[in-house]
C-alpha cells in the first residue's frame, strides 16, 4: 500500500486551492506555485524510483475494487511522464517570475498553471478511460484560460481556433468512450485489455480504435489534424507557450501510445500500419510548414508537429526497441522544445521582436545566448553527442530492423530539414547584423536559469544516453507486454 501514486495530483490541487484563498496576494501565489512545481518534480522522481524498485504501482481510489472503481496506476511510462511534467512545471514556474506581467498574475496565472499540471498528471496516472477524458478536460479548461489570459487580440484569435478544434476532439473522444462501453461493458483499461483481446467482432473494435485515434490525434497534433497548433501556440506569453509546447501535445501522444499498446492491439497490421503512415506525413508537413515561417515561435510550433511524427513512428513500428525509441524521443523532445521556447523569450527581450527579420547581431551582443540556442537547436536536429541524436538513432535502427525503409528515409530527410530551419534562425537572429537599434530590456536571471538548466540536461542525456536508454527499454518492455500492468490493476493474472 502506498500513497505516492496520488501525490502528483494532490500537490498541484492543494497549491491551486491555497492560491485561490490568497487571491489578492501575488507573492504568496508565486511562492505556492514554485514550491508546488518542485514538489511535483520530487514526487515524480520518487514515483519513478518506487516503480523501478518495486514494480507497477496501483491504487484503487476510495477502496472500490478494480473494474468498478477508478484506478490510479503508474508504470514506468507514467513515472517518466509525471517526472517530466514536474520538470517542465518547475522550469516554467521559475521563468514566469520575470516573464508573466503583474496583470496576468492577478488574474490567476499561478493557480491555473497548477491546475494544468494536475490535469496533465491525472491523464498520465489514470487507469480508466473515462477518467482519462475527465483529466483531459481539466487540462484543456486550464489551458483555454491560460491561452486567453491577458485578452490580447491575437491571443483570442489563436485561442478561438484552439478551443474549437479541441472541443471537437473531446466530443469524439466522449462518443468513443460511450461506444466502447457499449461494446465491452467496462471502461477500466486493464479490464478492457482482457475483454477485447478475444473480441467477437474485431472489425468493430478496429472502428472504435479509429475514433480514438482521431480524437487523440487532434490533441497530439498529427497530420492532418494539426492546424490549431501553429495557429495558437505563438500568441500567449513565452512561459505559457513553453509549457504548452512541452507538455500538452505529449499528453495526446501518451494517450495514443497507452491505448494502442494496451487496448487496441487486435489488428496491428492495419492500425499500427496506419499510425506509421500518419507519422511519416506528420514529420514531412511539420518540417515543410516550418520552412515557410518567419516568426521564431511559429517555426518552433511547426517543429513540434514534425517531432510528434517521430514519437508515433516508434509506436507504428511496434517493436520493443522502436517503442524504447519513442519513449527516449519524448523525454528528449519535452526538454529540448521547452528550452527552445524559453530561449525565444530571452531573444525577444534582447531584440524586441519574435520576427526573424527584426532580429540580428545577437552573436556579437550575447555569445552566451548564441551558445545556449545552439545546444537545443542542434539537439533537435539530431547532431551527436546531444540527446536528439540518440533518440533518432534508436528509431532509425528500429526502422531498419523492421525493413521499413520508406519511414527511415523520411526520418533522415526530416532531420536534415530541421537543421535547415535551425540554421535559418541562427543566420537571421544571431549572425546577420542587427537591422535596427533596439535598447535591449534587461533579462532577469530567473529567465536564464531554467534555460541553462534544461540545456545542461540535454547534454547530460546525450552523454549519459546509456542509462536513459536502459530506462526507455524497460518502459517499452512493460508497454509491449501488458501482463504486469493488468495484474497490478486487477489484482489477479488472467
Amino acid at each position: 500500500m502506498n500513497g505516492f501514486v496520488v501525490l502528483p495530483l494532490l500537490i498541484p490541487l492543494v497549491s491551486a486551492a491555497s492560491s485561490i484563498l490568497f487571491w489578492r496576494r501575488r507573492m504568496i501565489q508565486r511562492w505556492l506555485g514554485l514550491s508546488s512545481s518542485f514538489l511535483l518534480l520530487g514526487s515524480g522522481l520518487l514515483l519513478l524510483y518506487t516503480i523501478r524498485e518495486h514494480g507497477i504501482q496501483a491504487m484503487q481510489v476510495g477502496g472500490w475494487p478494480a473494474p468498478f472503481g477508478i484506478t490510479l496506476v503508474a508504470d514506468l511510462f507514467t513515472g517518466i511522464m509525471v517526472t517530466l511534467a514536474g520538470l517542465i512545471g518547475s522550469a516554467v514556474a521559475v521563468y514566469s517570475v520575470a516573464n508573466i506581467d503583474a496583470r496576468r498574475e492577478t488574474f490567476g496565472f499561478h493557480p491555473l498553471l497548477q491546475v494544468l499540471l494536475m490535469g496533465v498528471s491525472g491523464a498520465f496516472l489514470t487507469g480508466d478511460i473515462f477518467n482519462l477524458y475527465v483529466w483531459f478536460e481539466v487540462m484543456l479548461i486550464a489551458s483555454f484560460v491560460l491561452l486567453g489570459l491577458g485578452g490580447e487580440r491575437k491571443q483570442l484569435e489563436g485561442g478561438f481556433k484552439y478551443v474549437t478544434l479541441n472541443l471537437v476532439s473531446s466530443a469524439l473522444f466522449l462518443a468513443g468512450v460511450g461506444l466502447l462501453y457499449g461494446a465491452a461493458g467496462t471502461l477500466n483499461m486493464a479490464d478492457l485489455a482482457v475483454k477485447l483481446r478475444n473480441a467477437n467482432e474485431p472489425a468493430l473494435v478496429t472502428a472504435l480504435a479509429m475514433i480514438f485515434l482521431t480524437a487523440f490525434g487532434i490533441k497530439a497534433a498529427v497530420f492532418p489534424l494539426f492546424f490549431w497548433l501553429p495557429a495558437s501556440y505563438h500568441t500567449p506569453p513565452v512561459a505559457i507557450s513553453a509549457v504548452f509546447a512541452g507538455l500538452l501535445t505529449k499528453v495526446g501522444v501518451y494517450a495514443i501510445i497507452r491505448v494502442f499498446t494496451l487496448v487496441f492491439v487486435q489488428d496491428v497490421a492495419y492500425t499500427h500500419g496506419l499510425i506509421l503512415g500518419i507519422s511519416a506525413l506528420t514529420m514531412i508537413t511539420g518540417v515543410l510548414g516550418a520552412a515557410a515561417q518567419n516568426d521564431f515561435r511559429r517555426i518552433l510550433s511547426f517543429h513540434i508537429v514534425s517531432q510528434i511524427g517521430y514519437m508515433t513512428m516508434g509506436l507504428g513500428l511496434y517493436t520493443s526497441i522502436a517503442l524504447a525509441g519513442s519513449v527516449f524521443y519524448i523525454v528528449h523532445h519535452i526538454i529540448v522544445k521547452t528550452n527552445l521556447f524559453l530561449i525565444s523569450g530571452i531573444v525577444e527581450r534582447r531584440t524586441g521582436s519574435f520576427q526573424l527579420k527584426q532580429m540580428g547581431g545577437l552573436y556579437h551582443a550575447s555569445p552566451l545566448l548564441a551558445l545556449l540556442f545552439l545546444i537545443p537547436a542542434f539537439s533537435l536536429a539530431g547532431i551527436p553527442p546531444l540527446s536528439g541524436f540518440f533518440a533518432k538513432f534508436i528509431l532509425i535502427r528500429a526502422g531498419l530492423e523492421n525493413e521499413e525503409y520508406a519511414i527511415v528515409a523520411v526520418a533522415l530527410m526530416v532531420g536534415l530539414l530541421t537543421l535547415f530551419s535551425m540554421t535559418k534562425i541562427w543566420a537571421e537572429a544571431f549572425w546577420k547584423p542587427a537591422p535596427n537599434e533596439f535598447g535591449p530590456r534587461p533579462v532577469h536571471r530567473t529567465m536564464w536559469a531554467p534555460a541553462v538548466a534544461l540545456a545542461v540536461l540535454t547534454i547530460c542525456i546525450g552523454f549519459g544516453a546509456g542509462p536513459v536508454y536502459e530506462l526507455s527499454e524497460q518502459t517499452a518492455r512493460q508497454l509491449m507486454d501488458p501482463t504486469a500492468y493488468i495484474q497490478a490493476v486487477l489484482g489477479v493474472s488472467r
Partner: protein, 127 residues
C-alpha cells in the same frame, strides 16, 4: 434596486433559503440533495441580498475564500483515509459524521463561491 416588494421578500426569503440550503446539504446524505444543490440554494440566498443592497454588503467574505476553503476541505476529506493507511478517498464513518459529509461541505462552499463570484461580477458590471 428600490422595490419595496423585493426588499420585504428578500428580508424574509434570505434566511429561509439559507436554512433550507443547510437542510438540503445534510439530507443529501441518504436522500436527494447534497452539497451541489445546497450550495446553489445558499448562493441564491446571498444573490437576493446582493440585488437588494449593495454588492459588498451581501457576504462577509470574498467568494474566492469560499472556493479555496471548499476545495481544501474536499481534499482533506480524501486525505483522512491516507493517514489511516487506506486508499485515497476511502470513506470513513463515525456516528453521525463521516468524511463523505466533509467532502459534501467542501462541494457546498465551492459551488456557492463560484456562483456568487459570477453573480457579483455581473452585478458590478451593471452598476
Amino acid at each position: 434596486m428600490n422595490s419595496i416588494i423585493l426588499t420585504v421578500t428578500a428580508r424574509v426569503l434570505g434566511p429561509v433559503l439559507l436554512l433550507f440550503s443547510l437542510f438540503v446539504l445534510f439530507r443529501g446524505h441518504q436522500e436527494p440533495g447534497g452539497g451541489f444543490a445546497g450550495g446553489l440554494l445558499a448562493a441564491s440566498a446571498f444573490s437576493i441580498r446582493a440585488i437588494r443592497k449593495d454588492v459588498e454588503l451581501s457576504l462577509p467574505v470574498e467568494p474566492h475564500a469560499l472556493i479555496g476553503t471548499g476545495l481544501l476541505l474536499a481534499v482533506s476529506s480524501g486525505l483522512a483515509s491516507v493517514v489511516l493507511g487506506r486508499p485515497f478517498m476511502t470513506a470513513i464513518w463515525f456516528p453521525y459524521v463521516s468524511t463523505v459529509l466533509l467532502f459534501d461541505i467542501g462541494v457546498y462552499l465551492t459551488v456557492m463561491g463560484v456562483v456568487l463570484m459570477t453573480v457579483y461580477a455581473l452585478a458590478e458590471e451593471k452598476s
